[in-house]
Symmetry: C2
Subunit: 270 residues, 2 copies
Amino acid sequence: MNPSRFLLTGLALGAAVALNAKIVTKPVAYEHAGVKLEGFLAYDDAKVSADKQAPGVLVVPEWWGLNDYAKGRAEQLAKLGYVAFAADMYGAGVVTSDAKKAGELAKPFYGTPLMAERAQAGLDQLLATGLVDAPRVAAIGYCFGGATVQALAYSGAPLAGIVSFHGSLIAPSAEAVAKTKAKILICHGAVDPFEKPEDIAACKKALDDGKLDYQFISYAGAVHAFTNPGADELAKANGLGGAIAYNAAADKRSWNHMKAFFSEIFAKKK
Amino acid sequence: MNPSRFLLTGLALGAAVALNAKIVTKPVAYEHAGVKLEGFLAYDDAKVSADKQAPGVLVVPEWWGLNDYAKGRAEQLAKLGYVAFAADMYGAGVVTSDAKKAGELAKPFYGTPLMAERAQAGLDQLLATGLVDAPRVAAIGYCFGGATVQALAYSGAPLAGIVSFHGSLIAPSAEAVAKTKAKILICHGAVDPFEKPEDIAACKKALDDGKLDYQFISYAGAVHAFTNPGADELAKANGLGGAIAYNAAADKRSWNHMKAFFSEIFAKKK
Protein backbone atom coordinates (compact mmCIF):
# COMPACT_ATOMS: atom_id res chain seq x y z
CA MET A 1 0.00 0.00 0.00
CA ASN A 2 1.52 3.30 -0.94
CA PRO A 3 1.50 6.17 1.57
CA SER A 4 -1.10 8.17 -0.33
CA ARG A 5 -3.54 5.29 -0.32
CA PHE A 6 -2.89 4.76 3.38
CA LEU A 7 -3.64 8.41 4.11
CA LEU A 8 -6.90 8.27 2.17
CA THR A 9 -7.97 5.10 3.92
CA GLY A 10 -7.31 6.83 7.23
CA LEU A 11 -9.42 9.79 6.17
CA ALA A 12 -12.27 7.55 5.07
CA LEU A 13 -12.06 5.66 8.33
CA GLY A 14 -12.19 8.89 10.32
CA ALA A 15 -15.29 9.98 8.41
CA ALA A 16 -16.95 6.62 9.03
CA VAL A 17 -16.30 6.89 12.77
CA ALA A 18 -17.71 10.40 12.84
CA LEU A 19 -20.85 9.21 11.04
CA ASN A 20 -21.28 6.35 13.48
CA ALA A 21 -20.77 8.52 16.56
CA LYS A 22 -23.62 7.99 18.98
CA ILE A 23 -24.53 10.22 21.84
CA VAL A 24 -25.27 8.04 24.82
CA THR A 25 -27.76 9.53 27.25
CA LYS A 26 -29.02 8.02 30.47
CA PRO A 27 -30.78 8.95 33.66
CA VAL A 28 -28.64 8.66 36.78
CA ALA A 29 -30.29 8.23 40.19
CA TYR A 30 -28.55 9.69 43.20
CA GLU A 31 -29.35 11.20 46.54
CA HIS A 32 -28.44 14.25 48.53
CA ALA A 33 -29.49 15.18 52.07
CA GLY A 34 -32.21 12.60 51.96
CA VAL A 35 -33.68 13.79 48.66
CA LYS A 36 -33.91 11.34 45.80
CA LEU A 37 -32.55 12.95 42.64
CA GLU A 38 -32.26 11.96 39.01
CA GLY A 39 -29.65 13.57 36.79
CA PHE A 40 -28.99 13.15 33.08
CA LEU A 41 -25.68 11.95 31.66
CA ALA A 42 -24.65 12.48 28.04
CA TYR A 43 -21.48 11.61 26.15
CA ASP A 44 -20.27 10.43 22.76
CA ASP A 45 -19.19 6.84 23.15
CA ALA A 46 -17.11 7.04 19.99
CA LYS A 47 -14.96 9.71 21.62
CA VAL A 48 -15.09 8.92 25.32
CA SER A 49 -14.43 5.88 27.46
CA ALA A 50 -12.79 4.95 30.78
CA ASP A 51 -9.56 4.52 28.83
CA LYS A 52 -10.05 7.75 26.93
CA GLN A 53 -11.29 10.28 29.42
CA ALA A 54 -12.58 13.66 28.31
CA PRO A 55 -13.24 16.99 30.01
CA GLY A 56 -16.46 17.01 32.00
CA VAL A 57 -19.16 19.63 32.22
CA LEU A 58 -21.81 19.89 34.89
CA VAL A 59 -25.01 21.58 33.69
CA VAL A 60 -27.24 23.23 36.27
CA PRO A 61 -30.77 23.94 35.00
CA GLU A 62 -32.92 27.04 35.24
CA TRP A 63 -35.35 27.35 38.13
CA TRP A 64 -37.85 25.23 36.15
CA GLY A 65 -35.93 22.11 37.13
CA LEU A 66 -34.23 19.46 35.00
CA ASN A 67 -36.32 19.85 31.87
CA ASP A 68 -35.70 19.06 28.22
CA TYR A 69 -33.91 22.38 27.70
CA ALA A 70 -31.20 21.52 30.24
CA LYS A 71 -30.96 17.96 28.92
CA GLY A 72 -30.58 19.36 25.41
CA ARG A 73 -27.62 21.45 26.53
CA ALA A 74 -26.00 18.34 27.97
CA GLU A 75 -26.45 16.62 24.62
CA GLN A 76 -24.95 19.59 22.80
CA LEU A 77 -21.93 19.42 25.09
CA ALA A 78 -21.64 15.68 24.44
CA LYS A 79 -21.53 16.42 20.72
CA LEU A 80 -18.59 18.71 21.40
CA GLY A 81 -16.78 15.74 22.92
CA TYR A 82 -17.38 16.49 26.59
CA VAL A 83 -18.92 14.28 29.24
CA ALA A 84 -21.95 16.25 30.37
CA PHE A 85 -24.08 15.73 33.43
CA ALA A 86 -27.23 17.77 33.92
CA ALA A 87 -27.81 17.99 37.63
CA ASP A 88 -31.10 17.59 39.41
CA MET A 89 -31.47 20.25 42.10
CA TYR A 90 -35.05 19.62 43.22
CA GLY A 91 -35.85 15.89 43.20
CA ALA A 92 -36.45 13.16 40.62
CA GLY A 93 -38.99 14.33 38.07
CA VAL A 94 -39.70 17.65 39.77
CA VAL A 95 -40.15 20.03 36.84
CA THR A 96 -42.48 22.97 36.36
CA SER A 97 -43.29 25.66 33.84
CA ASP A 98 -45.13 27.74 36.41
CA ALA A 99 -43.04 30.67 37.61
CA LYS A 100 -44.69 30.81 41.05
CA LYS A 101 -43.94 27.15 41.65
CA ALA A 102 -40.41 27.57 40.26
CA GLY A 103 -39.81 30.45 42.64
CA GLU A 104 -40.89 28.29 45.56
CA LEU A 105 -38.64 25.45 44.44
CA ALA A 106 -35.62 27.70 44.02
CA LYS A 107 -36.08 29.75 47.19
CA PRO A 108 -34.51 27.39 49.74
CA PHE A 109 -31.26 27.43 47.78
CA TYR A 110 -30.57 31.16 47.54
CA GLY A 111 -28.12 32.43 50.11
CA THR A 112 -27.71 29.07 51.80
CA PRO A 113 -24.96 26.40 51.65
CA LEU A 114 -27.54 24.03 50.16
CA MET A 115 -27.07 25.62 46.73
CA ALA A 116 -23.41 24.62 46.43
CA GLU A 117 -23.89 21.34 48.27
CA ARG A 118 -26.69 20.09 46.02
CA ALA A 119 -24.64 21.07 42.95
CA GLN A 120 -21.61 19.33 44.39
CA ALA A 121 -23.67 16.14 44.64
CA GLY A 122 -24.23 16.40 40.89
CA LEU A 123 -20.54 17.08 40.30
CA ASP A 124 -19.72 13.96 42.31
CA GLN A 125 -21.95 11.94 39.99
CA LEU A 126 -20.19 13.38 36.93
CA LEU A 127 -16.79 12.42 38.35
CA ALA A 128 -18.05 8.98 39.42
CA THR A 129 -18.71 8.04 35.79
CA GLY A 130 -15.00 7.35 35.42
CA LEU A 131 -15.19 9.02 32.01
CA VAL A 132 -13.89 12.39 33.10
CA ASP A 133 -10.36 13.72 33.16
CA ALA A 134 -10.73 15.20 36.64
CA PRO A 135 -8.49 18.28 36.34
CA ARG A 136 -10.56 19.30 33.33
CA VAL A 137 -14.01 19.87 34.72
CA ALA A 138 -16.28 22.87 34.42
CA ALA A 139 -19.80 23.78 35.46
CA ILE A 140 -22.27 25.82 33.47
CA GLY A 141 -25.67 27.00 34.55
CA TYR A 142 -28.67 28.97 33.42
CA CYS A 143 -30.56 31.59 35.47
CA PHE A 144 -30.93 29.89 38.87
CA GLY A 145 -28.30 27.44 37.64
CA GLY A 146 -25.99 30.33 36.78
CA ALA A 147 -26.18 31.47 40.38
CA THR A 148 -25.64 27.88 41.46
CA VAL A 149 -22.39 27.41 39.52
CA GLN A 150 -21.12 30.66 41.03
CA ALA A 151 -21.98 29.34 44.50
CA LEU A 152 -20.31 26.03 43.63
CA ALA A 153 -17.11 27.79 42.55
CA TYR A 154 -17.14 29.97 45.66
CA SER A 155 -17.50 26.88 47.85
CA GLY A 156 -14.05 25.77 46.66
CA ALA A 157 -15.20 22.99 44.32
CA PRO A 158 -12.37 21.55 42.18
CA LEU A 159 -13.44 23.20 38.93
CA ALA A 160 -11.28 24.59 36.15
CA GLY A 161 -14.01 27.03 35.29
CA ILE A 162 -17.66 28.02 35.46
CA VAL A 163 -19.96 29.71 32.97
CA SER A 164 -23.06 31.54 34.17
CA PHE A 165 -25.67 32.24 31.49
CA HIS A 166 -28.11 34.94 32.60
CA GLY A 167 -27.50 33.84 36.16
CA SER A 168 -28.41 35.80 39.23
CA LEU A 169 -25.14 37.39 40.26
CA ILE A 170 -23.49 36.50 43.55
CA ALA A 171 -20.89 38.83 45.00
CA PRO A 172 -18.39 36.49 46.65
CA SER A 173 -17.27 37.18 50.21
CA ALA A 174 -13.55 37.41 51.00
CA GLU A 175 -13.79 33.94 52.49
CA ALA A 176 -15.38 32.59 49.31
CA VAL A 177 -12.76 34.29 47.17
CA ALA A 178 -9.99 32.60 49.13
CA LYS A 179 -11.49 29.19 48.38
CA THR A 180 -12.23 29.74 44.68
CA LYS A 181 -10.25 27.69 42.17
CA ALA A 182 -12.39 28.21 39.06
CA LYS A 183 -11.98 30.76 36.31
CA ILE A 184 -15.24 32.56 35.75
CA LEU A 185 -17.19 33.52 32.65
CA ILE A 186 -20.34 35.55 33.19
CA CYS A 187 -22.64 35.82 30.16
CA HIS A 188 -25.14 38.51 30.97
CA GLY A 189 -28.10 40.04 29.20
CA ALA A 190 -27.36 43.76 28.95
CA VAL A 191 -30.97 44.71 29.65
CA ASP A 192 -31.84 41.89 32.06
CA PRO A 193 -34.40 43.53 34.36
CA PHE A 194 -33.71 41.05 37.18
CA GLU A 195 -30.18 42.29 37.74
CA LYS A 196 -29.96 45.83 39.06
CA PRO A 197 -26.96 47.99 38.13
CA GLU A 198 -25.95 48.20 41.80
CA ASP A 199 -25.97 44.40 42.12
CA ILE A 200 -23.83 44.06 39.00
CA ALA A 201 -21.45 46.69 40.36
CA ALA A 202 -21.24 44.92 43.73
CA CYS A 203 -20.52 41.61 42.06
CA LYS A 204 -17.80 43.07 39.85
CA LYS A 205 -16.24 44.90 42.80
CA ALA A 206 -16.06 41.70 44.83
CA LEU A 207 -14.47 39.88 41.87
CA ASP A 208 -11.99 42.72 41.31
CA ASP A 209 -11.14 43.11 45.00
CA GLY A 210 -10.70 39.35 45.26
CA LYS A 211 -8.52 39.32 42.15
CA LEU A 212 -10.48 36.39 40.77
CA ASP A 213 -9.98 35.44 37.13
CA TYR A 214 -13.19 36.44 35.43
CA GLN A 215 -14.68 37.68 32.19
CA PHE A 216 -17.97 39.50 32.26
CA ILE A 217 -19.79 39.79 28.93
CA SER A 218 -22.88 41.89 28.35
CA TYR A 219 -24.99 41.11 25.27
CA ALA A 220 -26.98 43.93 23.75
CA GLY A 221 -30.74 43.66 23.84
CA ALA A 222 -30.74 40.44 25.86
CA VAL A 223 -32.97 39.98 28.90
CA HIS A 224 -33.30 37.04 31.29
CA ALA A 225 -33.31 33.51 29.82
CA PHE A 226 -31.86 34.75 26.53
CA THR A 227 -30.38 31.33 25.68
CA ASN A 228 -33.65 29.41 26.00
CA PRO A 229 -35.67 29.10 22.76
CA GLY A 230 -38.69 28.28 24.92
CA ALA A 231 -38.40 31.48 26.93
CA ASP A 232 -41.00 33.43 24.94
CA GLU A 233 -43.63 30.80 25.53
CA LEU A 234 -42.76 30.62 29.23
CA ALA A 235 -42.93 34.41 29.40
CA LYS A 236 -46.38 34.41 27.85
CA ALA A 237 -47.71 31.69 30.13
CA ASN A 238 -46.39 33.43 33.23
CA GLY A 239 -47.04 37.09 32.41
CA LEU A 240 -43.29 37.74 32.20
CA GLY A 241 -43.26 39.36 28.75
CA GLY A 242 -40.26 41.66 28.32
CA ALA A 243 -38.47 40.19 31.33
CA ILE A 244 -37.59 36.80 29.86
CA ALA A 245 -37.12 36.24 26.15
CA TYR A 246 -35.02 34.26 23.71
CA ASN A 247 -32.30 36.19 21.87
CA ALA A 248 -30.77 34.16 19.04
CA ALA A 249 -27.71 36.39 18.57
CA ALA A 250 -26.85 36.45 22.27
CA ASP A 251 -27.48 32.71 22.51
CA LYS A 252 -25.08 31.93 19.68
CA ARG A 253 -22.46 34.39 20.83
CA SER A 254 -22.48 33.24 24.44
CA TRP A 255 -22.25 29.59 23.37
CA ASN A 256 -19.22 30.44 21.23
CA HIS A 257 -17.70 32.38 24.10
CA MET A 258 -18.19 29.32 26.30
CA LYS A 259 -16.45 27.15 23.71
CA ALA A 260 -13.46 29.54 23.57
CA PHE A 261 -13.36 29.56 27.37
CA PHE A 262 -13.34 25.76 27.43
CA SER A 263 -10.53 25.68 24.87
CA GLU A 264 -8.51 27.76 27.27
CA ILE A 265 -9.31 26.06 30.57
CA PHE A 266 -9.25 22.52 29.18
CA ALA A 267 -5.94 22.95 27.33
CA LYS A 268 -3.45 20.35 28.50
CA LYS A 269 -0.39 21.78 30.16
CA LYS A 270 2.63 21.37 27.92
CA MET B 1 -4.75 10.27 -12.80
CA ASN B 2 -7.08 8.60 -10.34
CA PRO B 3 -9.24 10.73 -8.05
CA SER B 4 -7.26 9.89 -4.90
CA ARG B 5 -4.02 10.98 -6.48
CA PHE B 6 -5.67 14.15 -7.67
CA LEU B 7 -6.90 14.90 -4.16
CA LEU B 8 -3.48 14.34 -2.68
CA THR B 9 -1.83 16.52 -5.29
CA GLY B 10 -4.31 19.19 -4.37
CA LEU B 11 -3.46 18.83 -0.70
CA ALA B 12 0.25 18.96 -1.37
CA LEU B 13 -0.23 22.02 -3.52
CA GLY B 14 -2.25 23.68 -0.76
CA ALA B 15 0.51 22.95 1.73
CA ALA B 16 3.15 24.34 -0.60
CA VAL B 17 1.18 27.53 -1.12
CA ALA B 18 0.74 27.90 2.65
CA LEU B 19 4.47 27.50 3.16
CA ASN B 20 5.21 30.05 0.48
CA ALA B 21 2.68 32.55 1.78
CA LYS B 22 4.28 35.94 2.11
CA ILE B 23 2.88 38.83 4.04
CA VAL B 24 3.22 41.90 1.86
CA THR B 25 3.64 45.11 3.83
CA LYS B 26 4.01 48.58 2.44
CA PRO B 27 3.79 52.20 3.48
CA VAL B 28 0.94 54.11 1.85
CA ALA B 29 1.14 57.89 1.55
CA TYR B 30 -2.11 59.82 1.69
CA GLU B 31 -3.42 63.15 2.83
CA HIS B 32 -6.27 64.49 4.90
CA ALA B 33 -7.23 68.10 5.59
CA GLY B 34 -3.85 69.25 4.34
CA VAL B 35 -1.88 66.85 6.57
CA LYS B 36 0.50 64.42 4.91
CA LEU B 37 -0.07 60.94 6.33
CA GLU B 38 1.58 57.58 5.91
CA GLY B 39 -0.35 54.42 6.70
CA PHE B 40 0.75 50.81 6.64
CA LEU B 41 -0.84 48.14 4.46
CA ALA B 42 -0.46 44.41 5.12
CA TYR B 43 -1.92 41.37 3.36
CA ASP B 44 -1.04 37.85 2.37
CA ASP B 45 -0.51 37.84 -1.38
CA ALA B 46 -1.07 34.08 -1.53
CA LYS B 47 -4.59 34.55 -0.24
CA VAL B 48 -5.61 37.97 -1.49
CA SER B 49 -5.69 39.71 -4.84
CA ALA B 50 -7.94 42.01 -6.87
CA ASP B 51 -9.60 38.87 -8.23
CA LYS B 52 -9.83 37.28 -4.82
CA GLN B 53 -10.90 39.98 -2.44
CA ALA B 54 -10.87 39.46 1.31
CA PRO B 55 -12.43 41.17 4.30
CA GLY B 56 -10.63 44.35 5.28
CA VAL B 57 -9.66 45.62 8.71
CA LEU B 58 -8.67 49.17 9.57
CA VAL B 59 -6.33 49.42 12.57
CA VAL B 60 -6.27 52.66 14.52
CA PRO B 61 -3.21 53.00 16.77
CA GLU B 62 -2.87 54.07 20.41
CA TRP B 63 -2.17 57.71 21.17
CA TRP B 64 1.54 57.02 20.58
CA GLY B 65 0.93 57.17 16.83
CA LEU B 66 1.53 54.60 14.11
CA ASN B 67 4.31 52.66 15.81
CA ASP B 68 5.59 49.10 15.45
CA TYR B 69 2.92 47.78 17.79
CA ALA B 70 0.08 48.94 15.54
CA LYS B 71 1.93 47.74 12.45
CA GLY B 72 2.43 44.36 14.13
CA ARG B 73 -1.31 44.08 14.65
CA ALA B 74 -1.86 44.76 10.94
CA GLU B 75 0.57 41.97 10.12
CA GLN B 76 -1.21 39.59 12.50
CA LEU B 77 -4.49 40.38 10.76
CA ALA B 78 -2.86 39.78 7.39
CA LYS B 79 -1.78 36.34 8.60
CA LEU B 80 -5.43 35.65 9.39
CA GLY B 81 -6.21 36.33 5.75
CA TYR B 82 -7.52 39.88 6.07
CA VAL B 83 -6.38 42.99 4.26
CA ALA B 84 -5.21 45.25 7.07
CA PHE B 85 -4.48 48.94 6.94
CA ALA B 86 -2.97 50.67 9.97
CA ALA B 87 -4.08 54.28 9.80
CA ASP B 88 -1.96 57.30 10.45
CA MET B 89 -3.86 59.82 12.57
CA TYR B 90 -1.11 62.36 13.25
CA GLY B 91 1.14 62.78 10.21
CA ALA B 92 3.83 60.78 8.41
CA GLY B 93 6.38 59.53 10.91
CA VAL B 94 4.86 61.28 13.91
CA VAL B 95 5.35 58.77 16.71
CA THR B 96 6.18 59.27 20.35
CA SER B 97 6.67 57.27 23.54
CA ASP B 98 6.25 60.32 25.72
CA ALA B 99 2.82 60.44 27.33
CA LYS B 100 2.75 64.24 27.57
CA LYS B 101 3.46 64.56 23.85
CA ALA B 102 0.96 61.77 23.06
CA GLY B 103 -1.70 63.59 25.04
CA GLU B 104 -1.04 66.75 23.05
CA LEU B 105 -1.20 64.87 19.76
CA ALA B 106 -4.46 63.12 20.65
CA LYS B 107 -6.22 66.12 22.17
CA PRO B 108 -7.49 67.82 18.99
CA PHE B 109 -9.37 64.66 18.05
CA TYR B 110 -11.43 64.05 21.17
CA GLY B 111 -14.97 65.28 20.93
CA THR B 112 -14.55 66.73 17.44
CA PRO B 113 -15.56 65.48 13.98
CA LEU B 114 -11.85 65.29 13.11
CA MET B 115 -11.56 61.96 14.91
CA ALA B 116 -13.98 60.15 12.60
CA GLU B 117 -12.92 62.11 9.51
CA ARG B 118 -9.23 61.30 9.88
CA ALA B 119 -10.08 57.64 10.46
CA GLN B 120 -12.37 57.69 7.42
CA ALA B 121 -9.41 58.88 5.34
CA GLY B 122 -7.60 55.72 6.41
CA LEU B 123 -10.65 53.60 5.64
CA ASP B 124 -10.77 55.15 2.17
CA GLN B 125 -7.17 54.04 1.61
CA LEU B 126 -8.01 50.51 2.70
CA LEU B 127 -10.92 50.36 0.26
CA ALA B 128 -8.84 51.96 -2.51
CA THR B 129 -6.45 48.98 -2.52
CA GLY B 130 -9.02 47.09 -4.56
CA LEU B 131 -8.24 44.03 -2.45
CA VAL B 132 -11.17 44.38 -0.08
CA ASP B 133 -14.63 42.88 -0.30
CA ALA B 134 -16.34 46.13 0.64
CA PRO B 135 -19.37 44.80 2.55
CA ARG B 136 -16.96 42.95 4.80
CA VAL B 137 -14.93 45.68 6.46
CA ALA B 138 -14.26 46.29 10.13
CA ALA B 139 -12.21 48.72 12.18
CA ILE B 140 -10.29 47.94 15.33
CA GLY B 141 -8.47 50.34 17.58
CA TYR B 142 -6.43 50.55 20.72
CA CYS B 143 -6.84 53.13 23.51
CA PHE B 144 -7.18 56.41 21.58
CA GLY B 145 -7.77 54.24 18.51
CA GLY B 146 -10.52 52.39 20.35
CA ALA B 147 -12.30 55.69 20.86
CA THR B 148 -11.63 56.53 17.23
CA VAL B 149 -13.28 53.41 15.83
CA GLN B 150 -16.31 54.13 18.01
CA ALA B 151 -16.42 57.67 16.60
CA LEU B 152 -16.01 56.26 13.10
CA ALA B 153 -18.92 53.86 13.58
CA TYR B 154 -21.07 56.64 15.05
CA SER B 155 -20.32 58.84 12.04
CA GLY B 156 -22.16 56.31 9.86
CA ALA B 157 -19.12 54.77 8.19
CA PRO B 158 -19.94 51.67 6.10
CA LEU B 159 -18.49 49.15 8.56
CA ALA B 160 -19.75 45.68 9.40
CA GLY B 161 -18.24 46.00 12.84
CA ILE B 162 -15.77 47.69 15.15
CA VAL B 163 -13.64 46.39 18.01
CA SER B 164 -12.39 48.74 20.70
CA PHE B 165 -9.51 47.43 22.80
CA HIS B 166 -9.13 49.40 26.02
CA GLY B 167 -10.57 52.40 24.21
CA SER B 168 -11.89 55.51 25.87
CA LEU B 169 -15.63 54.99 25.82
CA ILE B 170 -17.90 57.26 23.81
CA ALA B 171 -21.60 57.39 24.66
CA PRO B 172 -23.28 57.88 21.27
CA SER B 173 -25.89 60.60 20.87
CA ALA B 174 -29.31 59.72 19.48
CA GLU B 175 -28.23 61.26 16.18
CA ALA B 176 -25.08 59.10 16.13
CA VAL B 177 -27.10 56.00 16.96
CA ALA B 178 -29.38 56.63 14.00
CA LYS B 179 -26.39 56.68 11.65
CA THR B 180 -24.56 53.65 13.03
CA LYS B 181 -24.29 50.58 10.81
CA ALA B 182 -21.54 48.67 12.64
CA LYS B 183 -21.89 45.95 15.22
CA ILE B 184 -19.81 46.80 18.24
CA LEU B 185 -17.40 44.81 20.38
CA ILE B 186 -15.93 46.59 23.39
CA CYS B 187 -12.98 44.83 25.04
CA HIS B 188 -12.43 46.57 28.33
CA GLY B 189 -9.96 46.19 31.20
CA ALA B 190 -12.08 45.56 34.30
CA VAL B 191 -9.82 47.71 36.48
CA ASP B 192 -8.87 50.33 33.89
CA PRO B 193 -8.42 53.47 36.02
CA PHE B 194 -9.05 55.78 33.04
CA GLU B 195 -12.67 54.73 32.65
CA LYS B 196 -14.89 55.75 35.55
CA PRO B 197 -17.88 53.55 36.46
CA GLU B 198 -20.25 56.42 35.65
CA ASP B 199 -18.72 56.82 32.19
CA ILE B 200 -19.08 53.10 31.52
CA ALA B 201 -22.68 53.23 32.73
CA ALA B 202 -23.42 56.24 30.51
CA CYS B 203 -21.92 54.51 27.48
CA LYS B 204 -23.88 51.31 28.09
CA LYS B 205 -27.07 53.26 28.65
CA ALA B 206 -26.66 55.09 25.36
CA LEU B 207 -26.01 51.80 23.56
CA ASP B 208 -29.01 50.15 25.24
CA ASP B 209 -31.32 53.10 24.65
CA GLY B 210 -30.18 53.26 21.03
CA LYS B 211 -30.70 49.52 20.62
CA LEU B 212 -27.30 49.18 18.99
CA ASP B 213 -25.85 45.71 18.52
CA TYR B 214 -22.99 45.51 20.98
CA GLN B 215 -21.05 43.19 23.22
CA PHE B 216 -19.18 44.62 26.17
CA ILE B 217 -16.51 42.39 27.70
CA SER B 218 -14.66 43.14 30.92
CA TYR B 219 -11.41 41.29 31.54
CA ALA B 220 -10.38 40.68 35.15
CA GLY B 221 -7.24 42.41 36.37
CA ALA B 222 -6.68 44.29 33.14
CA VAL B 223 -5.88 48.01 33.11
CA HIS B 224 -5.31 50.39 30.21
CA ALA B 225 -3.18 49.18 27.27
CA PHE B 226 -3.61 45.53 28.32
CA THR B 227 -2.99 44.22 24.80
CA ASN B 228 0.36 45.96 24.32
CA PRO B 229 3.41 43.91 25.37
CA GLY B 230 5.37 47.18 25.49
CA ALA B 231 2.95 48.78 27.96
CA ASP B 232 5.01 48.04 31.06
CA GLU B 233 8.04 49.78 29.64
CA LEU B 234 5.95 52.75 28.53
CA ALA B 235 4.38 52.87 32.00
CA LYS B 236 7.80 52.94 33.62
CA ALA B 237 9.15 55.65 31.34
CA ASN B 238 6.08 57.82 31.87
CA GLY B 239 5.37 57.28 35.56
CA LEU B 240 2.13 55.46 34.68
CA GLY B 241 2.77 52.29 36.69
CA GLY B 242 -0.47 50.57 37.65
CA ALA B 243 -2.48 52.56 35.11
CA ILE B 244 -1.17 50.95 31.94
CA ALA B 245 0.18 47.39 31.84
CA TYR B 246 0.30 44.35 29.61
CA ASN B 247 -2.00 41.47 30.58
CA ALA B 248 -1.24 38.33 28.59
CA ALA B 249 -4.49 36.52 29.45
CA ALA B 250 -6.69 39.50 28.57
CA ASP B 251 -4.66 40.08 25.39
CA LYS B 252 -5.14 36.51 24.20
CA ARG B 253 -8.80 36.37 25.19
CA SER B 254 -9.71 39.66 23.56
CA TRP B 255 -7.91 38.69 20.35
CA ASN B 256 -9.87 35.45 20.27
CA HIS B 257 -13.10 37.33 20.94
CA MET B 258 -12.25 39.62 18.02
CA LYS B 259 -11.71 36.59 15.79
CA ALA B 260 -15.08 35.12 16.78
CA PHE B 261 -16.70 38.51 16.14
CA PHE B 262 -15.10 38.65 12.68
CA SER B 263 -16.33 35.13 11.91
CA GLU B 264 -19.82 36.39 12.59
CA ILE B 265 -19.75 39.76 10.84
CA PHE B 266 -17.73 38.56 7.85
CA ALA B 267 -19.87 35.50 7.23
CA LYS B 268 -21.25 35.54 3.71
CA LYS B 269 -24.99 35.68 3.49
CA LYS B 270 -26.37 32.39 2.25
